[in-house]
C-alpha cells in the first residue's frame, strides 16, 4: 500500500482505490435502506461524516466492526456528526441488517456496483460476492477526505478513538464558535 499525501488533511498510509486524504469523494447518488434515492452531499449536510464501505452483512469482520460504529453512534447522536454505510447489498437486505444491528444511521445500496467501480473499491479476491473492499473515510461537508482507513486486514480499520479524533479535527475547523465563549 502506498503512502499517499494530498491537501491539508491527515497523512494516512492506507489510501484505498480512489480514496486518498485530501481528495474528494464524488457526489454519488444511491438508494437508501428504505428505497429512497439519496445524494451524498445532502446526506452529509453541514456535518463531519464517517463514510463506511463494507463487504456485506455476512462477513464476521464487518459484524465486529459494526459493533464499533454502534459504540460511536451513542456519541455521534449528540455531536452533530453523521454516519453512512455503503455496500452492494440490496435496500431490503440493508434494512434488515440495519434493524438487527440497531443502527440509527443511513445504509446505502450500490447493488449495480457503479460507485464501487468509480472508486475502484471492488475486492478482487472475492469473486463470489464482488463486495466492497472494506474502507472508512472521514469527510467534511465539502466531501473532502480528512482521513482514510483500509480495512482489508481487520487491524487497518479505525478504532473509535481514531474516528473521534478525526471528527474532532473536522469539527474544530468547521464550527466558528469552537473556542468556547468565556468571559
Amino acid at each position: 500500500m502506498s503512502d499517499r499525501r494530498a491537501g491539508d488533511g491527515v497523512v494516512s498510509p492506507d489510501a484505498v482505490g480512489e480514496l486518498a486524504v485530501g481528495g474528494q469523494v464524488p457526489n454519488f447518488e444511491l438508494l437508501d435502506h428504505a428505497g429512497n434515492r439519496r445524494r451524498l452531499s445532502q446526506l452529509v449536510g453541514g456535518d463531519p461524516t464517517v463514510l463506511h464501505f463494507y463487504r456485506g452483512w455476512w462477513c464476521p469482520k464487518e459484524q465486529a466492526f459494526f459493533r464499533r460504529l454502534l459504540a460511536l453512534q451513542d456519541d455521534a447522536e449528540v455531536a452533530y456528526s453523521r454516519i453512512l454505510s455503503v455496500s452492494v447489498d440490496s435496500p431490503e437486505v440493508n434494512a434488515a441488517f440495519r434493524a438487527g444491528l440497531g443502527a440509527r444511521w443511513t445504509f446505502l445500496s450500490d447493488a449495480d456496483r457503479q460507485v464501487q467501480t468509480q472508486l475502484r473499491l471492488r475486492e478482487t479476491t472475492d469473486t463470489l460476492n464482488d463486495p466492497y473492499v472494506p474502507a472508512v473515510v472521514v469527510i467534511g461537508p465539502d466531501l473532502r477526505i480528512h482521513a482514510v482507513y483500509n480495512g482489508y486486514w481487520y487491524w487497518g480499520r479505525p478504532t473509535v478513538d481514531e474516528l473521534v479524533k478525526n471528527l474532532r479535527e473536522i469539527s474544530r475547523a468547521l464550527r466558528p464558535d469552537w473556542e468556547a465563549p468565556t468571559p
Partner: protein, 170 residues
Amino acid sequence: MSRCWLALVDGPAHGADAAAPARTLDGQPAGTLAAWNRAAKPVREAVRVDGRLIDPRGSAAWISLVLAPSGVRLAFDDLAVQYARRLVLLHPFAAAVSTLLRDDSHFEGAITVVRCAEHRQRLRDDPFARIFPSRLLAVQAGILGALPPPTGPTIERYGSANPWPWDQFD
C-alpha cells in the same frame, strides 16, 4: 429559527398559508389542520413545526398528531423525548416527522405523516405517543408534504429554537 406554525383548529383557519380538513379514521370531522409562515403565533393553540413538512401542493395523508395536554409541558431534553427520537431513527421513516414546539426548551408534541396504506398501521406505534396522547387523523390534500429521512444518528436539535429533525444550523 423555525417560523412555521401548525394548529388543528375547529373553525376556519384565518390567514393560513396552507390548510386542509381533517377527519378521524372512522370518518368524523376533526377540524382543519392549518399552517402559517410568520414570526408571530397565529392562534393560541399553534405550535412551531419543521417548515419543510408543509406543502400546499401535498397530497392527502394520514397523521399521528401528538399534543401535550393543556397545562402539561416536558423538557425537550427529557430522556423520554430523547428515546422517542432514537426510535424514530431506528424504525422505517414515515413520509415526514416533526417535533412541535412553542418555546426553546419544551417538547409540546409531534406530527408523523404517512401516505402508503400499508404504513398507516405504523402510526399506532408512534414513539411520541408514548409521551403524550396521539390522535390518528386523515388529512385531505393541501398542507402536508414529505421530508427526506434524517441521515442519523443525530437526535439533537440544530439550535434549540428549531424542531427536530431539522438538520442544519441556520
